[in-house]
Symmetry: C2
Subunit: 214 residues, 2 copies
Protein backbone atom coordinates (compact mmCIF):
# COMPACT_ATOMS: atom_id res chain seq x y z
CA UNK A 1 0.00 0.00 0.00
CA UNK A 2 1.17 3.51 -0.83
CA UNK A 3 1.38 5.74 2.26
CA UNK A 4 -0.28 9.10 1.83
CA UNK A 5 0.19 12.46 3.53
CA UNK A 6 -3.36 13.68 4.16
CA UNK A 7 -4.83 16.97 5.34
CA UNK A 8 -8.21 16.25 6.99
CA UNK A 9 -10.99 18.58 8.12
CA UNK A 10 -9.02 21.78 7.71
CA UNK A 11 -11.40 24.67 8.28
CA UNK A 12 -11.14 28.09 6.70
CA UNK A 13 -13.33 31.10 6.01
CA UNK A 14 -14.60 32.03 2.56
CA UNK A 15 -11.74 34.54 2.37
CA UNK A 16 -9.11 31.88 3.07
CA UNK A 17 -8.39 32.53 6.78
CA UNK A 18 -7.78 29.53 9.06
CA UNK A 19 -6.81 31.17 12.36
CA UNK A 20 -6.62 34.53 14.00
CA UNK A 21 -3.72 36.47 15.37
CA UNK A 22 -2.65 36.85 19.00
CA UNK A 23 -2.86 33.21 20.10
CA UNK A 24 -3.00 32.80 23.86
CA UNK A 25 -3.59 29.92 26.23
CA UNK A 26 -7.20 31.03 26.54
CA UNK A 27 -7.72 31.73 22.84
CA UNK A 28 -5.96 29.11 20.68
CA UNK A 29 -7.38 30.72 17.54
CA UNK A 30 -6.59 34.29 18.49
CA UNK A 31 -9.22 36.78 17.44
CA UNK A 32 -11.17 34.13 15.51
CA UNK A 33 -14.05 32.30 17.21
CA UNK A 34 -13.36 28.71 16.06
CA UNK A 35 -17.05 27.82 16.37
CA UNK A 36 -17.70 29.90 13.26
CA UNK A 37 -15.46 27.55 11.28
CA UNK A 38 -15.94 24.22 13.10
CA UNK A 39 -19.68 24.10 13.78
CA UNK A 40 -20.39 21.83 10.77
CA UNK A 41 -17.99 19.19 12.13
CA UNK A 42 -19.23 19.32 15.70
CA UNK A 43 -22.75 18.51 14.49
CA UNK A 44 -21.73 15.13 13.02
CA UNK A 45 -21.98 11.72 14.67
CA UNK A 46 -18.32 10.87 13.98
CA UNK A 47 -16.64 14.05 15.24
CA UNK A 48 -13.74 12.76 17.37
CA UNK A 49 -14.38 15.30 20.14
CA UNK A 50 -18.08 14.36 20.44
CA UNK A 51 -18.94 13.44 24.02
CA UNK A 52 -22.64 12.65 23.62
CA UNK A 53 -24.52 10.24 21.33
CA UNK A 54 -26.42 11.60 18.34
CA UNK A 55 -25.26 13.76 15.47
CA UNK A 56 -25.87 13.74 11.73
CA UNK A 57 -24.75 10.93 9.42
CA UNK A 58 -25.01 12.70 6.06
CA UNK A 59 -22.31 14.16 3.84
CA UNK A 60 -20.47 16.08 6.59
CA UNK A 61 -20.20 12.89 8.61
CA UNK A 62 -18.38 11.10 5.77
CA UNK A 63 -15.74 13.80 6.09
CA UNK A 64 -15.33 13.64 9.87
CA UNK A 65 -15.40 9.83 9.94
CA UNK A 66 -12.46 9.78 7.54
CA UNK A 67 -10.36 11.80 9.99
CA UNK A 68 -8.86 8.74 11.70
CA UNK A 69 -9.34 6.03 9.03
CA UNK A 70 -5.99 4.36 8.28
CA UNK A 71 -4.01 7.11 10.04
CA UNK A 72 -0.83 5.86 11.72
CA UNK A 73 0.75 9.15 12.85
CA UNK A 74 0.26 12.93 12.72
CA UNK A 75 2.48 15.90 12.05
CA UNK A 76 1.39 19.18 13.61
CA UNK A 77 2.68 22.70 13.81
CA UNK A 78 3.70 23.98 17.20
CA UNK A 79 0.60 26.19 17.42
CA UNK A 80 -1.61 23.11 17.44
CA UNK A 81 0.28 21.90 20.51
CA UNK A 82 0.40 25.15 22.47
CA UNK A 83 0.68 28.94 22.36
CA UNK A 84 4.33 29.16 23.50
CA UNK A 85 6.99 30.86 21.40
CA UNK A 86 10.76 30.33 21.74
CA UNK A 87 12.29 27.99 24.34
CA UNK A 88 9.82 25.97 26.42
CA UNK A 89 9.29 27.78 29.75
CA UNK A 90 8.76 24.37 31.41
CA UNK A 91 7.60 20.86 30.52
CA UNK A 92 4.71 20.77 32.93
CA UNK A 93 2.08 22.02 30.54
CA UNK A 94 1.47 19.20 28.09
CA UNK A 95 -0.55 20.69 25.30
CA UNK A 96 -4.09 21.76 24.51
CA UNK A 97 -5.43 18.23 24.17
CA UNK A 98 -6.04 17.08 27.73
CA UNK A 99 -5.17 13.78 29.35
CA UNK A 100 -6.92 11.76 26.62
CA UNK A 101 -6.05 13.45 23.33
CA UNK A 102 -8.39 12.58 20.43
CA UNK A 103 -5.37 11.78 18.23
CA UNK A 104 -4.66 8.14 19.23
CA UNK A 105 -1.33 7.86 17.39
CA UNK A 106 2.21 9.15 17.56
CA UNK A 107 2.27 12.90 16.96
CA UNK A 108 5.29 14.86 15.69
CA UNK A 109 5.24 18.51 16.78
CA UNK A 110 7.39 20.75 14.60
CA UNK A 111 9.59 23.02 16.70
CA UNK A 112 13.20 24.15 16.78
CA UNK A 113 13.13 23.83 20.56
CA UNK A 114 13.93 20.37 21.85
CA UNK A 115 11.76 18.69 24.40
CA UNK A 116 11.52 15.05 25.60
CA UNK A 117 8.76 12.86 24.15
CA UNK A 118 5.85 11.96 26.44
CA UNK A 119 2.72 9.85 26.26
CA UNK A 120 -0.84 10.77 27.24
CA UNK A 121 -3.26 7.84 26.98
CA UNK A 122 -2.67 6.34 23.49
CA UNK A 123 -1.06 9.49 22.04
CA UNK A 124 2.73 9.99 22.14
CA UNK A 125 4.09 13.47 21.43
CA UNK A 126 7.52 13.85 19.82
CA UNK A 127 9.21 17.22 19.14
CA UNK A 128 11.12 17.46 15.88
CA UNK A 129 13.05 20.05 13.89
CA UNK A 130 14.13 20.05 10.27
CA UNK A 131 12.82 20.27 6.75
CA UNK A 132 9.33 18.97 5.90
CA UNK A 133 10.74 16.09 3.82
CA UNK A 134 12.87 14.67 6.63
CA UNK A 135 10.09 15.11 9.21
CA UNK A 136 7.73 13.31 6.85
CA UNK A 137 10.19 10.42 6.46
CA UNK A 138 10.40 10.02 10.22
CA UNK A 139 6.63 10.20 10.63
CA UNK A 140 5.95 7.74 7.80
CA UNK A 141 8.19 5.23 9.54
CA UNK A 142 6.30 5.70 12.80
CA UNK A 143 3.00 5.22 10.92
CA UNK A 144 4.03 1.64 10.10
CA UNK A 145 2.49 1.47 6.66
CA UNK A 146 -0.56 3.59 7.43
CA UNK A 147 -1.12 7.15 6.22
CA UNK A 148 0.10 10.30 7.95
CA UNK A 149 -2.28 13.12 8.82
CA UNK A 150 -0.95 16.64 8.46
CA UNK A 151 -2.55 18.70 11.22
CA UNK A 152 -2.87 22.42 11.45
CA UNK A 153 -1.87 25.20 11.26
CA UNK A 154 -2.06 26.98 7.98
CA UNK A 155 1.64 27.88 7.93
CA UNK A 156 2.57 24.22 8.43
CA UNK A 157 0.29 23.09 5.61
CA UNK A 158 1.71 25.79 3.33
CA UNK A 159 5.25 24.53 4.01
CA UNK A 160 4.32 20.95 3.04
CA UNK A 161 2.37 22.16 0.00
CA UNK A 162 5.32 24.27 -1.12
CA UNK A 163 7.55 21.20 -0.79
CA UNK A 164 5.00 19.22 -2.88
CA UNK A 165 4.58 16.56 -0.18
CA UNK A 166 0.79 16.59 0.28
CA UNK A 167 -1.17 13.77 -1.42
CA UNK A 168 -4.76 14.55 -0.45
CA UNK A 169 -6.33 17.55 1.26
CA UNK A 170 -9.81 18.22 2.57
CA UNK A 171 -10.55 21.89 3.26
CA UNK A 172 -13.98 22.88 4.58
CA UNK A 173 -14.79 26.44 3.54
CA UNK A 174 -17.35 28.10 5.80
CA UNK A 175 -19.65 30.89 4.59
CA UNK A 176 -18.11 33.50 6.89
CA UNK A 177 -15.58 36.22 6.16
CA UNK A 178 -12.84 36.93 8.70
CA UNK A 179 -10.89 39.67 6.99
CA UNK A 180 -7.43 39.06 8.45
CA UNK A 181 -5.40 36.35 10.17
CA UNK A 182 -3.41 33.29 9.09
CA UNK A 183 -4.19 32.64 5.46
CA UNK A 184 -4.21 29.27 3.66
CA UNK A 185 -4.69 30.73 0.18
CA UNK A 186 -5.90 33.68 -1.81
CA UNK A 187 -7.85 31.20 -3.95
CA UNK A 188 -7.93 27.39 -4.29
CA UNK A 189 -7.08 27.90 -7.95
CA UNK A 190 -3.46 28.35 -6.86
CA UNK A 191 -3.25 24.58 -6.42
CA UNK A 192 -4.88 23.43 -9.65
CA UNK A 193 -1.59 22.93 -11.46
CA UNK A 194 -0.76 20.04 -9.13
CA UNK A 195 -4.10 18.84 -7.79
CA UNK A 196 -7.47 17.65 -8.95
CA UNK A 197 -10.21 19.54 -7.11
CA UNK A 198 -13.85 18.75 -6.44
CA UNK A 199 -15.96 21.32 -4.61
CA UNK A 200 -18.93 19.69 -2.87
CA UNK A 201 -21.50 21.98 -1.25
CA UNK A 202 -22.99 20.56 1.93
CA UNK A 203 -26.49 21.17 3.31
CA UNK A 204 -24.73 22.57 6.41
CA UNK A 205 -23.50 25.53 4.36
CA UNK A 206 -19.86 24.43 4.18
CA UNK A 207 -18.23 23.82 0.78
CA UNK A 208 -15.97 20.79 1.03
CA UNK A 209 -12.88 21.23 -1.15
CA UNK A 210 -11.39 17.82 -1.99
CA UNK A 211 -7.89 17.87 -3.50
CA UNK A 212 -5.82 14.95 -4.70
CA UNK A 213 -2.51 14.88 -6.45
CA UNK A 214 -2.47 14.79 -10.27
CA UNK B 1 -20.17 1.91 20.80
CA UNK B 2 -23.55 1.36 19.19
CA UNK B 3 -23.46 -1.25 16.42
CA UNK B 4 -25.14 -0.12 13.22
CA UNK B 5 -26.69 -2.01 10.32
CA UNK B 6 -25.39 -0.17 7.23
CA UNK B 7 -26.22 -0.38 3.53
CA UNK B 8 -23.14 0.76 1.56
CA UNK B 9 -22.70 1.59 -2.12
CA UNK B 10 -26.06 0.25 -3.24
CA UNK B 11 -26.49 1.16 -6.89
CA UNK B 12 -29.78 1.82 -8.62
CA UNK B 13 -31.09 3.51 -11.74
CA UNK B 14 -32.97 6.79 -11.72
CA UNK B 15 -36.19 4.78 -11.93
CA UNK B 16 -35.34 2.75 -8.83
CA UNK B 17 -34.10 -0.51 -10.42
CA UNK B 18 -31.14 -2.31 -8.81
CA UNK B 19 -30.92 -5.54 -10.83
CA UNK B 20 -32.37 -7.19 -13.84
CA UNK B 21 -34.39 -10.33 -14.24
CA UNK B 22 -33.19 -13.76 -15.42
CA UNK B 23 -30.03 -14.08 -13.30
CA UNK B 24 -27.63 -16.69 -14.61
CA UNK B 25 -24.10 -17.78 -13.77
CA UNK B 26 -22.87 -15.67 -16.67
CA UNK B 27 -25.10 -12.66 -15.97
CA UNK B 28 -25.42 -12.02 -12.22
CA UNK B 29 -27.51 -8.92 -12.90
CA UNK B 30 -29.77 -10.50 -15.50
CA UNK B 31 -30.71 -8.17 -18.34
CA UNK B 32 -29.02 -5.18 -16.65
CA UNK B 33 -25.43 -4.31 -17.57
CA UNK B 34 -23.99 -3.60 -14.10
CA UNK B 35 -21.36 -1.27 -15.56
CA UNK B 36 -24.14 1.23 -16.18
CA UNK B 37 -24.77 1.40 -12.43
CA UNK B 38 -21.30 0.71 -10.99
CA UNK B 39 -18.97 2.76 -13.20
CA UNK B 40 -18.72 5.65 -10.71
CA UNK B 41 -17.43 3.29 -8.00
CA UNK B 42 -14.93 1.49 -10.21
CA UNK B 43 -13.29 4.83 -11.06
CA UNK B 44 -12.34 5.53 -7.43
CA UNK B 45 -9.01 4.80 -5.72
CA UNK B 46 -10.66 2.93 -2.83
CA UNK B 47 -12.94 0.59 -4.77
CA UNK B 48 -12.38 -2.80 -3.08
CA UNK B 49 -12.26 -4.64 -6.43
CA UNK B 50 -9.60 -2.30 -7.87
CA UNK B 51 -6.60 -4.26 -9.13
CA UNK B 52 -4.42 -1.40 -10.40
CA UNK B 53 -3.14 1.77 -8.73
CA UNK B 54 -4.72 5.12 -9.54
CA UNK B 55 -8.32 6.22 -9.32
CA UNK B 56 -10.03 9.37 -8.14
CA UNK B 57 -9.97 10.60 -4.54
CA UNK B 58 -12.85 13.06 -4.62
CA UNK B 59 -16.40 12.75 -3.32
CA UNK B 60 -17.10 9.31 -4.84
CA UNK B 61 -14.00 7.93 -3.15
CA UNK B 62 -15.27 8.98 0.28
CA UNK B 63 -18.23 6.72 -0.39
CA UNK B 64 -16.26 3.67 -1.57
CA UNK B 65 -13.63 4.02 1.15
CA UNK B 66 -16.37 3.83 3.76
CA UNK B 67 -17.46 0.42 2.45
CA UNK B 68 -15.20 -1.55 4.82
CA UNK B 69 -14.60 1.00 7.62
CA UNK B 70 -15.55 -0.55 10.98
CA UNK B 71 -17.44 -3.43 9.32
CA UNK B 72 -17.29 -6.69 11.28
CA UNK B 73 -19.66 -8.89 9.26
CA UNK B 74 -22.01 -8.83 6.29
CA UNK B 75 -25.50 -10.11 5.58
CA UNK B 76 -26.29 -10.83 1.93
CA UNK B 77 -29.18 -12.17 -0.04
CA UNK B 78 -28.70 -15.49 -1.79
CA UNK B 79 -28.50 -13.75 -5.18
CA UNK B 80 -25.31 -11.99 -4.14
CA UNK B 81 -23.76 -15.39 -3.48
CA UNK B 82 -24.92 -17.19 -6.59
CA UNK B 83 -27.68 -17.71 -9.16
CA UNK B 84 -29.03 -21.01 -7.82
CA UNK B 85 -32.65 -21.44 -6.76
CA UNK B 86 -33.98 -24.14 -4.46
CA UNK B 87 -31.75 -26.86 -2.96
CA UNK B 88 -28.04 -26.55 -3.68
CA UNK B 89 -27.15 -28.81 -6.64
CA UNK B 90 -23.71 -29.34 -5.08
CA UNK B 91 -21.24 -27.57 -2.77
CA UNK B 92 -18.40 -27.37 -5.28
CA UNK B 93 -19.26 -23.96 -6.64
CA UNK B 94 -18.39 -21.49 -3.90
CA UNK B 95 -19.91 -18.20 -4.97
CA UNK B 96 -19.31 -15.36 -7.35
CA UNK B 97 -16.45 -13.86 -5.34
CA UNK B 98 -13.41 -15.95 -6.30
CA UNK B 99 -10.75 -17.42 -4.04
CA UNK B 100 -10.03 -14.07 -2.41
CA UNK B 101 -13.40 -12.40 -1.84
CA UNK B 102 -13.23 -8.63 -1.28
CA UNK B 103 -15.41 -8.95 1.83
CA UNK B 104 -12.78 -9.83 4.49
CA UNK B 105 -15.27 -10.70 7.25
CA UNK B 106 -17.81 -13.33 8.15
CA UNK B 107 -20.69 -13.29 5.68
CA UNK B 108 -24.19 -14.56 6.38
CA UNK B 109 -26.04 -15.69 3.24
CA UNK B 110 -29.80 -15.74 3.64
CA UNK B 111 -31.28 -18.99 2.32
CA UNK B 112 -33.78 -21.59 3.42
CA UNK B 113 -31.47 -24.29 2.08
CA UNK B 114 -28.83 -25.45 4.54
CA UNK B 115 -25.21 -25.71 3.57
CA UNK B 116 -22.00 -26.06 5.63
CA UNK B 117 -19.95 -22.92 6.31
CA UNK B 118 -16.65 -22.57 4.49
CA UNK B 119 -13.76 -20.11 4.38
CA UNK B 120 -12.06 -18.51 1.38
CA UNK B 121 -9.02 -16.43 2.32
CA UNK B 122 -10.23 -14.13 5.16
CA UNK B 123 -13.94 -14.44 4.32
CA UNK B 124 -16.11 -17.11 5.97
CA UNK B 125 -19.52 -17.84 4.44
CA UNK B 126 -22.36 -19.01 6.67
CA UNK B 127 -25.83 -19.95 5.40
CA UNK B 128 -28.74 -18.89 7.56
CA UNK B 129 -32.54 -18.98 7.53
CA UNK B 130 -35.06 -17.06 9.59
CA UNK B 131 -36.50 -13.62 10.13
CA UNK B 132 -34.34 -10.54 9.53
CA UNK B 133 -34.25 -9.67 13.24
CA UNK B 134 -32.83 -13.03 14.30
CA UNK B 135 -30.33 -13.10 11.44
CA UNK B 136 -29.23 -9.60 12.44
CA UNK B 137 -28.73 -10.70 16.06
CA UNK B 138 -26.51 -13.57 14.94
CA UNK B 139 -24.52 -11.34 12.60
CA UNK B 140 -24.07 -8.56 15.18
CA UNK B 141 -22.57 -11.13 17.54
CA UNK B 142 -20.15 -12.28 14.83
CA UNK B 143 -19.20 -8.64 14.17
CA UNK B 144 -17.75 -8.39 17.71
CA UNK B 145 -18.74 -4.82 18.36
CA UNK B 146 -18.23 -3.52 14.86
CA UNK B 147 -21.00 -2.60 12.42
CA UNK B 148 -22.80 -4.98 10.05
CA UNK B 149 -23.02 -4.28 6.35
CA UNK B 150 -26.25 -5.24 4.63
CA UNK B 151 -25.32 -6.37 1.13
CA UNK B 152 -27.54 -6.70 -1.88
CA UNK B 153 -29.96 -7.46 -3.27
CA UNK B 154 -32.88 -5.13 -3.38
CA UNK B 155 -35.35 -7.66 -2.01
CA UNK B 156 -33.10 -8.32 0.98
CA UNK B 157 -32.74 -4.62 1.72
CA UNK B 158 -36.51 -4.15 1.44
CA UNK B 159 -37.06 -6.92 4.01
CA UNK B 160 -34.73 -5.23 6.51
CA UNK B 161 -36.23 -1.81 5.80
CA UNK B 162 -39.73 -3.18 6.30
CA UNK B 163 -38.60 -4.64 9.64
CA UNK B 164 -37.14 -1.19 10.55
CA UNK B 165 -33.68 -2.64 11.19
CA UNK B 166 -31.55 -0.42 8.92
CA UNK B 167 -29.61 2.41 10.63
CA UNK B 168 -27.79 4.06 7.70
CA UNK B 169 -28.09 3.58 3.96
CA UNK B 170 -26.08 4.89 1.03
CA UNK B 171 -27.81 4.52 -2.34
CA UNK B 172 -26.03 5.76 -5.48
CA UNK B 173 -28.59 6.74 -8.10
CA UNK B 174 -27.19 6.64 -11.64
CA UNK B 175 -28.58 8.81 -14.43
CA UNK B 176 -29.86 5.86 -16.47
CA UNK B 177 -33.34 4.42 -16.78
CA UNK B 178 -33.79 0.65 -16.85
CA UNK B 179 -37.55 0.31 -17.12
CA UNK B 180 -38.07 -3.02 -15.37
CA UNK B 181 -36.31 -5.37 -12.97
CA UNK B 182 -35.84 -5.64 -9.20
CA UNK B 183 -37.00 -2.39 -7.66
CA UNK B 184 -35.71 -0.75 -4.46
CA UNK B 185 -38.35 1.99 -4.39
CA UNK B 186 -40.81 3.99 -6.40
CA UNK B 187 -39.36 7.11 -4.78
CA UNK B 188 -36.93 7.76 -1.90
CA UNK B 189 -39.69 9.84 -0.32
CA UNK B 190 -41.21 6.54 0.87
CA UNK B 191 -38.53 6.45 3.57
CA UNK B 192 -38.73 10.03 4.85
CA UNK B 193 -41.03 9.18 7.73
CA UNK B 194 -38.23 7.18 9.36
CA UNK B 195 -35.01 8.57 7.88
CA UNK B 196 -33.14 11.81 7.39
CA UNK B 197 -32.05 12.11 3.77
CA UNK B 198 -29.33 14.16 2.10
CA UNK B 199 -29.02 13.99 -1.68
CA UNK B 200 -25.48 14.87 -2.81
CA UNK B 201 -24.84 15.19 -6.56
CA UNK B 202 -21.40 13.99 -7.61
CA UNK B 203 -19.33 15.30 -10.54
CA UNK B 204 -19.45 11.70 -11.85
CA UNK B 205 -23.18 12.09 -12.53
CA UNK B 206 -24.35 9.88 -9.66
CA UNK B 207 -26.61 11.33 -6.95
CA UNK B 208 -25.57 9.92 -3.58
CA UNK B 209 -28.59 9.40 -1.34
CA UNK B 210 -27.51 9.33 2.32
CA UNK B 211 -30.10 8.09 4.81
CA UNK B 212 -29.83 7.85 8.55
CA UNK B 213 -32.43 6.91 11.11
CA UNK B 214 -34.46 9.69 12.75
Amino acid sequence: MVQLLRVENFNISSDGICAGEDHTLERPFGHVDPQRLFAWAGATASWPMRSEPGGSRGLDDYLTRDYARNIGAEIMGRNKFGPQRGPWPDHEWRGWWGDEPPLHTSVFVMTHHQRPSFTLSDTTFHFVAGEPASILDETMEAAQGKDVRLGVGGATIRRFLDADLVDTMHVAVSPVKLGFGVRLWESPDELLDRFHLEVVPSPSGVAHHLFWRK
